[in-house]
Protein backbone atom coordinates (compact mmCIF):
# COMPACT_ATOMS: atom_id res chain seq x y z
CA UNK A 1 0.00 0.00 0.00
CA UNK A 2 1.34 3.39 -0.98
CA UNK A 3 2.11 5.90 1.77
CA UNK A 4 -0.16 8.92 1.72
CA UNK A 5 1.68 11.84 0.22
CA UNK A 6 2.09 14.56 2.81
CA UNK A 7 0.53 17.82 1.83
CA UNK A 8 -1.76 16.47 -0.87
CA UNK A 9 -5.42 16.93 -0.22
CA UNK A 10 -7.30 13.67 0.38
CA UNK A 11 -9.79 13.18 -2.41
CA UNK A 12 -13.24 11.71 -2.06
CA UNK A 13 -15.23 9.71 -4.59
CA UNK A 14 -16.83 12.91 -5.68
CA UNK A 15 -13.51 14.27 -6.80
CA UNK A 16 -13.93 17.23 -4.50
CA UNK A 17 -12.06 18.25 -1.38
CA UNK A 18 -13.45 16.87 1.87
CA UNK A 19 -14.09 20.33 3.24
CA UNK A 20 -16.44 21.34 0.51
CA UNK A 21 -20.12 20.40 0.94
CA UNK A 22 -21.42 17.95 -1.63
CA UNK A 23 -23.88 19.65 -3.90
CA UNK A 24 -27.01 17.88 -5.02
CA UNK A 25 -25.94 18.00 -8.63
CA UNK A 26 -22.53 16.51 -7.91
CA UNK A 27 -24.20 13.69 -6.04
CA UNK A 28 -26.62 12.98 -8.87
CA UNK A 29 -23.64 12.92 -11.23
CA UNK A 30 -21.86 10.32 -9.11
CA UNK A 31 -24.93 8.16 -8.52
CA UNK A 32 -26.10 8.14 -12.13
CA UNK A 33 -22.52 7.94 -13.40
CA UNK A 34 -21.94 4.73 -11.47
CA UNK A 35 -25.06 3.15 -12.96
CA UNK A 36 -24.07 4.24 -16.43
CA UNK A 37 -20.56 2.83 -16.13
CA UNK A 38 -21.84 -0.53 -14.89
CA UNK A 39 -24.30 -0.82 -17.78
CA UNK A 40 -21.83 0.35 -20.39
CA UNK A 41 -19.59 -2.53 -19.32
CA UNK A 42 -21.93 -4.98 -21.07
CA UNK A 43 -22.05 -3.53 -24.56
CA UNK A 44 -23.79 -6.40 -26.39
CA UNK A 45 -26.47 -6.72 -23.76
CA UNK A 46 -27.09 -2.97 -23.90
CA UNK A 47 -27.28 -2.94 -27.70
CA UNK A 48 -29.80 -5.81 -27.63
CA UNK A 49 -31.84 -4.00 -24.98
CA UNK A 50 -31.91 -0.77 -26.96
CA UNK A 51 -32.91 -2.66 -30.06
CA UNK A 52 -35.70 -4.57 -28.33
CA UNK A 53 -37.05 -1.32 -26.84
CA UNK A 54 -37.17 0.24 -30.29
CA UNK A 55 -38.77 -2.96 -31.62
CA UNK A 56 -41.40 -2.74 -28.86
CA UNK A 57 -42.20 0.87 -29.76
CA UNK A 58 -42.60 -0.02 -33.43
CA UNK A 59 -44.75 -3.07 -32.72
CA UNK A 60 -47.16 -1.11 -30.57
CA UNK A 61 -47.95 1.03 -33.57
CA UNK A 62 -49.13 -2.02 -35.53
CA UNK A 63 -52.52 -1.76 -33.86
CA UNK A 64 -53.12 1.81 -35.08
CA UNK A 65 -51.75 0.92 -38.48
CA UNK A 66 -54.12 -2.06 -38.91
CA UNK A 67 -57.09 0.09 -37.85
CA UNK A 68 -56.14 2.76 -40.38
CA UNK A 69 -55.87 0.17 -43.13
CA UNK A 70 -59.62 -0.35 -42.73
CA UNK A 71 -60.69 3.18 -41.82
CA UNK A 72 -59.10 5.92 -43.96
CA UNK A 73 -59.63 8.45 -41.18
CA UNK A 74 -59.68 7.54 -37.48
CA UNK A 75 -60.79 10.13 -34.94
CA UNK A 76 -60.24 12.88 -37.51
CA UNK A 77 -56.70 11.78 -38.36
CA UNK A 78 -55.00 10.13 -41.32
CA UNK A 79 -52.30 7.48 -40.98
CA UNK A 80 -49.40 9.97 -41.04
CA UNK A 81 -51.10 12.25 -38.51
CA UNK A 82 -51.80 9.27 -36.26
CA UNK A 83 -48.16 8.20 -36.59
CA UNK A 84 -47.08 11.70 -35.57
CA UNK A 85 -49.28 11.56 -32.46
CA UNK A 86 -47.93 8.11 -31.59
CA UNK A 87 -44.28 9.09 -31.95
CA UNK A 88 -44.73 12.36 -30.06
CA UNK A 89 -46.38 10.48 -27.19
CA UNK A 90 -43.58 7.88 -27.15
CA UNK A 91 -40.98 10.65 -27.14
CA UNK A 92 -42.48 12.40 -24.12
CA UNK A 93 -43.14 9.17 -22.28
CA UNK A 94 -39.69 7.84 -23.16
CA UNK A 95 -37.99 10.89 -21.64
CA UNK A 96 -40.07 10.52 -18.50
CA UNK A 97 -39.41 6.78 -18.30
CA UNK A 98 -35.68 7.32 -18.70
CA UNK A 99 -35.59 9.86 -15.88
CA UNK A 100 -38.24 8.62 -13.46
CA UNK A 101 -39.07 5.09 -14.63
CA UNK A 102 -38.04 3.54 -11.34
CA UNK A 103 -40.55 5.47 -9.24
CA UNK A 104 -43.49 3.20 -9.98
CA UNK A 105 -41.63 0.44 -8.12
CA UNK A 106 -41.62 2.42 -4.85
CA UNK A 107 -44.12 -0.12 -3.50
CA UNK A 108 -41.58 -2.93 -3.93
CA UNK A 109 -39.18 -1.13 -1.57
CA UNK A 110 -41.92 -1.08 1.05
CA UNK A 111 -42.78 -4.74 0.42
CA UNK A 112 -39.18 -5.91 0.71
CA UNK A 113 -38.43 -3.71 3.71
CA UNK A 114 -35.74 -1.79 1.88
CA UNK A 115 -37.27 1.64 2.40
CA UNK A 116 -35.73 2.21 5.85
CA UNK A 117 -32.19 2.06 4.53
CA UNK A 118 -33.09 4.80 2.08
CA UNK A 119 -34.94 6.91 4.64
CA UNK A 120 -31.97 7.13 7.01
CA UNK A 121 -29.68 8.51 4.32
CA UNK A 122 -29.26 12.28 4.24
CA UNK A 123 -30.86 12.75 0.80
CA UNK A 124 -34.44 12.98 -0.30
CA UNK A 125 -36.13 9.69 -1.01
CA UNK A 126 -37.21 10.91 -4.43
CA UNK A 127 -33.61 11.55 -5.49
CA UNK A 128 -32.50 8.14 -4.28
CA UNK A 129 -35.33 6.19 -5.91
CA UNK A 130 -34.84 7.98 -9.20
CA UNK A 131 -31.13 7.18 -9.27
CA UNK A 132 -31.32 3.62 -7.86
CA UNK A 133 -31.91 1.86 -11.10
CA UNK A 134 -31.15 4.31 -13.86
CA UNK A 135 -31.56 2.09 -16.92
CA UNK A 136 -29.84 3.02 -20.14
CA UNK A 137 -32.03 0.62 -22.12
CA UNK A 138 -34.87 3.10 -21.63
CA UNK A 139 -33.00 5.28 -24.09
CA UNK A 140 -34.40 3.05 -26.86
CA UNK A 141 -37.79 4.73 -26.76
CA UNK A 142 -36.20 8.20 -26.66
CA UNK A 143 -34.03 7.35 -29.65
CA UNK A 144 -37.12 6.42 -31.65
CA UNK A 145 -38.51 9.83 -30.76
CA UNK A 146 -35.32 11.68 -31.63
CA UNK A 147 -35.21 10.07 -35.06
CA UNK A 148 -38.86 9.61 -36.04
CA UNK A 149 -40.42 12.75 -34.53
CA UNK A 150 -38.64 15.41 -36.64
CA UNK A 151 -38.95 13.19 -39.71
CA UNK A 152 -42.72 12.73 -39.30
CA UNK A 153 -43.16 16.44 -38.54
CA UNK A 154 -41.48 17.37 -41.81
CA UNK A 155 -43.39 14.69 -43.74
CA UNK A 156 -46.82 15.53 -42.31
CA UNK A 157 -46.90 19.31 -41.84
CA UNK A 158 -46.43 21.67 -44.78
CA UNK A 159 -47.76 25.01 -43.54
CA UNK A 160 -45.23 25.84 -40.84
CA UNK A 161 -45.60 28.97 -38.71
CA UNK A 162 -43.48 30.17 -35.79
CA UNK A 163 -46.24 29.13 -33.40
CA UNK A 164 -46.34 25.61 -34.82
CA UNK A 165 -42.58 25.23 -34.47
CA UNK A 166 -42.87 26.37 -30.87
CA UNK A 167 -45.66 23.90 -30.17
CA UNK A 168 -43.73 21.06 -31.81
CA UNK A 169 -40.82 21.76 -29.44
CA UNK A 170 -42.98 22.20 -26.36
CA UNK A 171 -45.11 19.06 -26.90
CA UNK A 172 -42.61 16.27 -26.07
CA UNK A 173 -41.09 18.32 -23.23
CA UNK A 174 -44.48 19.10 -21.74
CA UNK A 175 -45.36 15.43 -22.22
CA UNK A 176 -42.24 14.40 -20.30
CA UNK A 177 -43.30 16.82 -17.56
CA UNK A 178 -46.80 15.36 -17.37
CA UNK A 179 -45.59 11.75 -17.35
CA UNK A 180 -42.88 12.36 -14.70
CA UNK A 181 -45.52 14.08 -12.56
CA UNK A 182 -47.78 11.05 -12.96
CA UNK A 183 -44.84 8.83 -12.00
CA UNK A 184 -44.47 10.78 -8.73
CA UNK A 185 -48.18 10.17 -8.16
CA UNK A 186 -47.78 6.48 -8.99
CA UNK A 187 -44.85 6.17 -6.58
CA UNK A 188 -46.86 7.84 -3.80
CA UNK A 189 -49.84 5.61 -4.50
CA UNK A 190 -47.93 2.33 -4.47
CA UNK A 191 -46.19 3.29 -1.22
CA UNK A 192 -49.60 3.47 0.44
CA UNK A 193 -51.43 0.70 -1.46
CA UNK A 194 -48.52 -1.72 -1.78
CA UNK A 195 -50.35 -4.25 -3.98
CA UNK A 196 -51.93 -1.52 -6.06
CA UNK A 197 -49.38 -1.23 -8.84
CA UNK A 198 -51.98 -2.30 -11.40
CA UNK A 199 -54.21 0.61 -10.36
CA UNK A 200 -51.49 3.17 -10.97
CA UNK A 201 -50.64 1.28 -14.15
CA UNK A 202 -54.22 1.75 -15.27
CA UNK A 203 -53.77 5.50 -15.13
CA UNK A 204 -50.11 5.66 -16.15
CA UNK A 205 -50.00 3.08 -18.95
CA UNK A 206 -53.66 3.52 -19.84
CA UNK A 207 -52.83 7.21 -20.16
CA UNK A 208 -49.77 6.46 -22.24
CA UNK A 209 -51.80 4.19 -24.54
CA UNK A 210 -54.57 6.79 -24.88
CA UNK A 211 -52.10 9.60 -25.52
CA UNK A 212 -50.60 7.82 -28.52
CA UNK A 213 -53.83 7.36 -30.48
CA UNK A 214 -56.05 9.86 -32.32
CA UNK A 215 -57.95 11.14 -29.27
CA UNK A 216 -60.98 12.05 -31.34
CA UNK A 217 -61.75 8.33 -31.61
CA UNK A 218 -61.94 7.84 -27.83
CA UNK A 219 -65.23 7.63 -25.94
CA UNK A 220 -65.99 11.08 -24.51
CA UNK A 221 -65.64 10.09 -20.81
CA UNK A 222 -62.26 8.47 -21.54
CA UNK A 223 -61.13 11.54 -23.48
CA UNK A 224 -62.29 13.90 -20.71
CA UNK A 225 -60.54 11.82 -18.02
CA UNK A 226 -57.21 11.72 -19.86
CA UNK A 227 -57.38 15.43 -20.71
CA UNK A 228 -58.50 16.99 -17.45
CA UNK A 229 -57.75 14.44 -14.69
CA UNK A 230 -54.64 12.53 -15.79
CA UNK A 231 -53.83 14.90 -18.64
CA UNK A 232 -51.84 12.65 -20.96
CA UNK A 233 -53.82 13.62 -24.07
CA UNK A 234 -52.34 17.11 -23.69
CA UNK A 235 -48.92 15.58 -24.33
CA UNK A 236 -49.41 14.41 -27.91
CA UNK A 237 -52.84 14.18 -29.50
CA UNK A 238 -53.99 17.76 -28.84
CA UNK A 239 -50.73 19.56 -29.74
CA UNK A 240 -50.17 17.35 -32.78
CA UNK A 241 -53.74 17.89 -33.96
CA UNK A 242 -53.02 21.64 -33.88
CA UNK A 243 -49.62 21.30 -35.57
CA UNK A 244 -50.86 18.97 -38.32
CA UNK A 245 -54.17 20.74 -38.78
CA UNK A 246 -56.35 17.73 -37.90
CA UNK A 247 -59.88 18.37 -36.75
CA UNK A 248 -60.77 18.30 -33.05
CA UNK A 249 -64.10 16.95 -31.76
CA UNK A 250 -66.93 19.45 -31.43
CA UNK A 251 -66.42 21.75 -28.45
CA UNK A 252 -62.68 21.06 -28.08
CA UNK A 253 -60.83 24.36 -28.63
CA UNK A 254 -57.40 24.40 -30.28
CA UNK A 255 -55.77 26.27 -27.37
CA UNK A 256 -55.98 23.03 -25.36
CA UNK A 257 -52.98 21.93 -27.45
CA UNK A 258 -50.82 24.51 -25.67
CA UNK A 259 -51.67 23.47 -22.14
CA UNK A 260 -49.11 20.71 -21.52
CA UNK A 261 -46.56 22.84 -19.55
CA UNK A 262 -49.33 24.15 -17.29
CA UNK A 263 -50.72 20.64 -16.82
CA UNK A 264 -47.23 19.34 -16.04
CA UNK A 265 -46.85 21.98 -13.30
CA UNK A 266 -50.21 21.09 -11.78
CA UNK A 267 -49.54 17.33 -11.83
CA UNK A 268 -46.08 17.86 -10.31
CA UNK A 269 -47.32 20.19 -7.57
CA UNK A 270 -50.12 17.87 -6.50
CA UNK A 271 -47.85 14.84 -6.96
CA UNK A 272 -45.25 16.25 -4.56
CA UNK A 273 -47.93 16.86 -1.94
CA UNK A 274 -49.12 13.26 -2.37
CA UNK A 275 -45.52 12.01 -2.20
CA UNK A 276 -44.92 13.87 1.10
CA UNK A 277 -48.11 12.40 2.55
CA UNK A 278 -47.14 8.90 1.40
CA UNK A 279 -43.75 9.11 3.14
CA UNK A 280 -45.36 10.31 6.35
CA UNK A 281 -47.96 7.56 6.05
CA UNK A 282 -45.23 4.92 5.91
CA UNK A 283 -44.60 3.01 9.11
CA UNK A 284 -41.41 0.99 9.25
CA UNK A 285 -41.25 -2.40 10.93
CA UNK A 286 -37.86 -1.54 12.44
CA UNK A 287 -36.02 -3.47 9.76
Amino acid sequence: MAEPVVGSRPRTVLGLGDDRPVTWLAMIRVLVGSRLRSQLAYRTSLALDLFSQAFLVASEFIEIWVLLVHAPVLGGMTLSQAALVYVCSQFGFGLADLLFGELENAGDFVKQGRLETLLVRPTSLLTQLVTTDFQLRRLGRVLVGVIAYPWLLVATVDDWTAAKVGLAVIAPLGGAGIFTGLQVWAGAFTMVVVDGKQASNAVMYGGKFASGVPGGALFTPVRVFFTFVAPTLLSAWLPMAVVSGAGLPHGWPAWLGWLSPVAALVVWATGLVAWGRAIRHYTGAGG
Binding site: L48, L56, I62, G75, Q198, L218
Partner: protein, 265 residues
Protein backbone atom coordinates in the same frame (compact mmCIF):
# COMPACT_ATOMS: atom_id res chain seq x y z
CA UNK B 1 -52.77 -38.13 -10.18
CA UNK B 2 -53.44 -37.28 -6.57
CA UNK B 3 -50.28 -35.10 -6.44
CA UNK B 4 -51.37 -33.22 -9.55
CA UNK B 5 -54.84 -32.61 -8.14
CA UNK B 6 -53.23 -31.15 -5.02
CA UNK B 7 -51.18 -28.83 -7.25
CA UNK B 8 -54.33 -27.67 -9.06
CA UNK B 9 -55.95 -26.88 -5.70
CA UNK B 10 -52.75 -25.21 -4.49
CA UNK B 11 -52.56 -23.04 -7.59
CA UNK B 12 -56.20 -22.08 -7.20
CA UNK B 13 -55.75 -21.15 -3.54
CA UNK B 14 -52.57 -19.18 -4.11
CA UNK B 15 -53.92 -16.93 -6.85
CA UNK B 16 -57.32 -16.55 -5.19
CA UNK B 17 -55.52 -14.84 -2.31
CA UNK B 18 -54.18 -11.76 -4.10
CA UNK B 19 -57.37 -9.76 -3.57
CA UNK B 20 -56.12 -6.18 -3.91
CA UNK B 21 -54.07 -7.21 -6.94
CA UNK B 22 -57.19 -8.77 -8.52
CA UNK B 23 -59.24 -5.64 -7.93
CA UNK B 24 -56.63 -3.29 -9.31
CA UNK B 25 -56.04 -5.60 -12.29
CA UNK B 26 -59.75 -5.33 -13.03
CA UNK B 27 -59.44 -1.56 -13.01
CA UNK B 28 -56.48 -1.68 -15.40
CA UNK B 29 -58.28 -4.14 -17.72
CA UNK B 30 -61.35 -1.87 -17.74
CA UNK B 31 -59.40 1.26 -18.67
CA UNK B 32 -57.56 -0.53 -21.47
CA UNK B 33 -60.82 -2.16 -22.56
CA UNK B 34 -62.53 1.20 -22.88
CA UNK B 35 -59.66 2.65 -24.95
CA UNK B 36 -59.49 -0.43 -27.21
CA UNK B 37 -63.27 -0.51 -27.63
CA UNK B 38 -63.28 3.20 -28.56
CA UNK B 39 -60.68 2.62 -31.26
CA UNK B 40 -62.19 -0.53 -32.75
CA UNK B 41 -65.70 0.91 -32.77
CA UNK B 42 -64.45 4.13 -34.36
CA UNK B 43 -62.68 2.09 -37.03
CA UNK B 44 -65.77 -0.07 -37.75
CA UNK B 45 -67.89 3.07 -38.00
CA UNK B 46 -65.39 4.85 -40.26
CA UNK B 47 -65.16 1.77 -42.48
CA UNK B 48 -68.91 1.84 -43.03
CA UNK B 49 -70.31 -0.58 -40.43
CA UNK B 50 -68.37 -3.81 -40.90
CA UNK B 51 -64.70 -4.77 -41.05
CA UNK B 52 -63.87 -8.30 -42.25
CA UNK B 53 -66.86 -9.95 -40.60
CA UNK B 54 -66.94 -7.74 -37.51
CA UNK B 55 -69.92 -5.49 -36.80
CA UNK B 56 -69.82 -2.84 -34.08
CA UNK B 57 -71.42 -5.34 -31.68
CA UNK B 58 -68.99 -8.18 -32.41
CA UNK B 59 -65.99 -5.80 -32.27
CA UNK B 60 -67.09 -4.64 -28.81
CA UNK B 61 -67.65 -8.26 -27.74
CA UNK B 62 -64.18 -9.20 -29.04
CA UNK B 63 -62.59 -6.41 -26.97
CA UNK B 64 -64.31 -7.31 -23.72
CA UNK B 65 -63.95 -11.08 -24.09
CA UNK B 66 -60.22 -10.66 -24.71
CA UNK B 67 -59.87 -8.22 -21.78
CA UNK B 68 -61.74 -10.74 -19.62
CA UNK B 69 -59.53 -13.60 -20.84
CA UNK B 70 -56.46 -11.77 -19.50
CA UNK B 71 -57.36 -13.15 -16.08
CA UNK B 72 -57.65 -16.89 -16.76
CA UNK B 73 -55.45 -17.11 -19.88
CA UNK B 74 -51.88 -15.93 -19.31
CA UNK B 75 -50.83 -14.50 -22.65
CA UNK B 76 -47.94 -12.70 -20.94
CA UNK B 77 -46.60 -15.78 -19.17
CA UNK B 78 -45.99 -14.52 -15.65
CA UNK B 79 -46.31 -18.02 -14.16
CA UNK B 80 -43.87 -19.66 -16.63
CA UNK B 81 -41.58 -16.69 -15.86
CA UNK B 82 -41.51 -17.98 -12.27
CA UNK B 83 -40.22 -21.26 -13.66
CA UNK B 84 -37.55 -19.28 -15.51
CA UNK B 85 -36.53 -17.56 -12.29
CA UNK B 86 -36.45 -20.94 -10.51
CA UNK B 87 -34.00 -22.09 -13.16
CA UNK B 88 -31.85 -19.01 -12.53
CA UNK B 89 -31.91 -19.43 -8.74
CA UNK B 90 -31.43 -23.20 -8.84
CA UNK B 91 -34.75 -23.99 -7.11
CA UNK B 92 -35.59 -25.74 -10.35
CA UNK B 93 -33.69 -28.77 -9.02
CA UNK B 94 -36.49 -29.26 -6.47
CA UNK B 95 -39.05 -29.48 -9.28
CA UNK B 96 -37.04 -32.33 -10.74
CA UNK B 97 -37.11 -34.25 -7.46
CA UNK B 98 -40.89 -34.19 -7.10
CA UNK B 99 -42.80 -37.39 -7.91
CA UNK B 100 -44.49 -36.04 -11.04
CA UNK B 101 -43.14 -34.93 -14.41
CA UNK B 102 -42.20 -31.20 -14.14
CA UNK B 103 -44.36 -30.37 -17.13
CA UNK B 104 -47.39 -31.96 -15.46
CA UNK B 105 -46.63 -30.07 -12.23
CA UNK B 106 -46.49 -26.72 -14.00
CA UNK B 107 -49.57 -27.46 -16.05
CA UNK B 108 -51.57 -28.47 -12.96
CA UNK B 109 -50.51 -25.37 -11.00
CA UNK B 110 -51.33 -23.10 -13.93
CA UNK B 111 -54.70 -24.79 -14.44
CA UNK B 112 -55.53 -24.00 -10.82
CA UNK B 113 -54.37 -20.42 -11.31
CA UNK B 114 -56.53 -20.00 -14.41
CA UNK B 115 -59.60 -21.47 -12.71
CA UNK B 116 -59.19 -19.11 -9.76
CA UNK B 117 -59.44 -16.11 -12.08
CA UNK B 118 -62.75 -17.02 -13.73
CA UNK B 119 -64.97 -15.67 -10.98
CA UNK B 120 -63.04 -12.55 -9.88
CA UNK B 121 -61.60 -11.48 -13.26
CA UNK B 122 -63.54 -12.95 -16.17
CA UNK B 123 -67.12 -12.39 -15.06
CA UNK B 124 -66.76 -8.80 -13.69
CA UNK B 125 -64.93 -7.77 -16.87
CA UNK B 126 -67.78 -9.10 -19.03
CA UNK B 127 -70.21 -7.16 -16.83
CA UNK B 128 -68.22 -3.95 -17.39
CA UNK B 129 -68.42 -4.60 -21.13
CA UNK B 130 -72.15 -5.31 -20.99
CA UNK B 131 -72.76 -2.05 -19.11
CA UNK B 132 -70.45 0.23 -21.15
CA UNK B 133 -70.71 -0.86 -24.79
CA UNK B 134 -73.05 -3.83 -24.72
CA UNK B 135 -72.17 -7.40 -25.77
CA UNK B 136 -73.62 -9.99 -28.11
CA UNK B 137 -72.94 -13.42 -26.64
CA UNK B 138 -73.81 -17.00 -27.62
CA UNK B 139 -77.04 -18.26 -26.09
CA UNK B 140 -76.58 -22.02 -26.46
CA UNK B 141 -74.97 -23.63 -23.38
CA UNK B 142 -72.86 -26.02 -25.51
CA UNK B 143 -71.14 -23.03 -27.15
CA UNK B 144 -70.12 -21.80 -23.72
CA UNK B 145 -68.75 -25.25 -22.98
CA UNK B 146 -66.77 -25.10 -26.22
CA UNK B 147 -65.55 -21.62 -25.23
CA UNK B 148 -64.40 -22.91 -21.83
CA UNK B 149 -62.52 -25.82 -23.44
CA UNK B 150 -60.98 -23.38 -25.89
CA UNK B 151 -59.79 -21.15 -23.03
CA UNK B 152 -58.17 -24.13 -21.29
CA UNK B 153 -56.44 -25.11 -24.54
CA UNK B 154 -55.36 -21.50 -25.18
CA UNK B 155 -53.96 -21.19 -21.67
CA UNK B 156 -52.11 -24.50 -22.04
CA UNK B 157 -50.64 -23.31 -25.31
CA UNK B 158 -49.56 -19.98 -23.76
CA UNK B 159 -47.96 -21.91 -20.88
CA UNK B 160 -46.08 -24.25 -23.23
CA UNK B 161 -44.85 -21.42 -25.46
CA UNK B 162 -43.57 -19.39 -22.51
CA UNK B 163 -42.03 -22.51 -20.97
CA UNK B 164 -39.99 -23.07 -24.11
CA UNK B 165 -38.75 -19.47 -23.91
CA UNK B 166 -38.00 -19.69 -20.19
CA UNK B 167 -36.29 -23.07 -20.50
CA UNK B 168 -33.71 -21.35 -22.69
CA UNK B 169 -32.39 -20.25 -19.29
CA UNK B 170 -30.97 -23.75 -18.95
CA UNK B 171 -28.37 -22.79 -21.58
CA UNK B 172 -28.25 -18.98 -21.45
CA UNK B 173 -27.47 -16.70 -18.53
CA UNK B 174 -29.78 -13.88 -19.53
CA UNK B 175 -32.94 -14.37 -21.59
CA UNK B 176 -34.46 -10.90 -21.29
CA UNK B 177 -34.04 -10.22 -25.00
CA UNK B 178 -36.00 -13.37 -25.84
CA UNK B 179 -38.71 -12.45 -23.35
CA UNK B 180 -39.23 -9.04 -24.94
CA UNK B 181 -39.14 -10.47 -28.45
CA UNK B 182 -41.76 -13.14 -27.79
CA UNK B 183 -43.90 -10.71 -25.83
CA UNK B 184 -44.07 -8.54 -28.93
CA UNK B 185 -44.75 -11.52 -31.22
CA UNK B 186 -47.51 -12.95 -29.04
CA UNK B 187 -49.11 -9.53 -28.41
CA UNK B 188 -49.28 -8.49 -32.02
CA UNK B 189 -49.80 -11.77 -33.89
CA UNK B 190 -52.04 -13.85 -31.62
CA UNK B 191 -55.00 -11.51 -32.10
CA UNK B 192 -54.62 -9.63 -28.84
CA UNK B 193 -54.16 -6.05 -30.05
CA UNK B 194 -56.40 -6.35 -33.10
CA UNK B 195 -58.37 -9.37 -34.40
CA UNK B 196 -56.34 -11.66 -36.68
CA UNK B 197 -59.12 -11.25 -39.28
CA UNK B 198 -58.21 -7.55 -39.57
CA UNK B 199 -54.62 -8.20 -40.59
CA UNK B 200 -53.66 -7.53 -44.21
CA UNK B 201 -54.30 -10.68 -46.29
CA UNK B 202 -50.67 -11.81 -46.57
CA UNK B 203 -50.13 -11.52 -42.81
CA UNK B 204 -53.41 -13.26 -42.00
CA UNK B 205 -52.49 -16.20 -44.24
CA UNK B 206 -49.02 -16.37 -42.75
CA UNK B 207 -50.24 -16.26 -39.15
CA UNK B 208 -53.04 -18.72 -39.95
CA UNK B 209 -50.43 -21.43 -40.56
CA UNK B 210 -48.96 -21.02 -37.07
CA UNK B 211 -50.09 -21.76 -33.51
CA UNK B 212 -50.44 -18.03 -32.74
CA UNK B 213 -54.23 -17.60 -33.28
CA UNK B 214 -54.84 -20.74 -31.17
CA UNK B 215 -53.21 -18.96 -28.21
CA UNK B 216 -55.73 -16.14 -28.15
CA UNK B 217 -57.97 -15.50 -31.16
CA UNK B 218 -59.78 -18.87 -31.17
CA UNK B 219 -61.68 -18.55 -27.86
CA UNK B 220 -62.59 -14.98 -28.82
CA UNK B 221 -63.98 -16.26 -32.15
CA UNK B 222 -66.12 -18.79 -30.28
CA UNK B 223 -67.55 -16.03 -28.06
CA UNK B 224 -68.20 -13.54 -30.87
CA UNK B 225 -69.74 -16.21 -33.11
CA UNK B 226 -67.12 -15.75 -35.84
CA UNK B 227 -66.29 -19.46 -35.57
CA UNK B 228 -69.94 -20.46 -36.06
CA UNK B 229 -70.18 -23.76 -37.91
CA UNK B 230 -66.48 -24.49 -37.40
CA UNK B 231 -66.50 -25.14 -33.65
CA UNK B 232 -65.10 -28.67 -33.77
CA UNK B 233 -62.59 -27.69 -36.42
CA UNK B 234 -61.09 -24.79 -34.43
CA UNK B 235 -60.99 -26.83 -31.22
CA UNK B 236 -59.20 -29.69 -33.01
CA UNK B 237 -56.67 -27.22 -34.43
CA UNK B 238 -56.02 -25.88 -30.94
CA UNK B 239 -55.64 -29.38 -29.52
CA UNK B 240 -53.23 -30.29 -32.32
CA UNK B 241 -51.01 -27.29 -31.52
CA UNK B 242 -51.15 -28.08 -27.80
CA UNK B 243 -49.83 -31.58 -28.54
CA UNK B 244 -47.10 -30.26 -30.84
CA UNK B 245 -45.93 -27.57 -28.41
CA UNK B 246 -46.22 -30.04 -25.52
CA UNK B 247 -43.84 -32.36 -27.35
CA UNK B 248 -41.45 -29.46 -28.01
CA UNK B 249 -41.37 -28.42 -24.32
CA UNK B 250 -40.87 -32.03 -23.23
CA UNK B 251 -37.91 -32.40 -25.61
CA UNK B 252 -36.36 -29.06 -24.63
CA UNK B 253 -36.77 -30.00 -20.99
CA UNK B 254 -35.09 -33.37 -21.55
CA UNK B 255 -32.11 -31.86 -23.39
CA UNK B 256 -31.86 -29.01 -20.89
CA UNK B 257 -31.86 -31.17 -17.78
CA UNK B 258 -29.18 -33.34 -19.34
CA UNK B 259 -26.87 -30.33 -19.51
CA UNK B 260 -27.98 -29.02 -16.12
CA UNK B 261 -25.49 -29.10 -13.29
CA UNK B 262 -26.89 -28.65 -9.82
CA UNK B 263 -24.33 -27.30 -7.39
CA UNK B 264 -24.46 -28.62 -3.85
CA UNK B 265 -27.71 -29.30 -2.08
Amino acid sequence: MRALWELVIGGFRRWARYRVATLTALLANSVFGLIRASLLLAAVQAAGGTVNGYTAASAATYVWVTQAMLGPVELWGSYPREVGLRIKSGDFAVDLLRPAHPLAQWWATDLGRGASQLLPRFIPMMLVGAVTTGLVLPTQPWLWLAFLCSMVLANTLCLFCWLVVNLLGLWLVDIRGFLVFFMVVFNTLSGFLVPVQWFPDWLRTLVGHTFLPSMWQTPADLATGLARGRVLEVLTTQLGWVLVLGLVVALVLRWGTRSLEVQGG
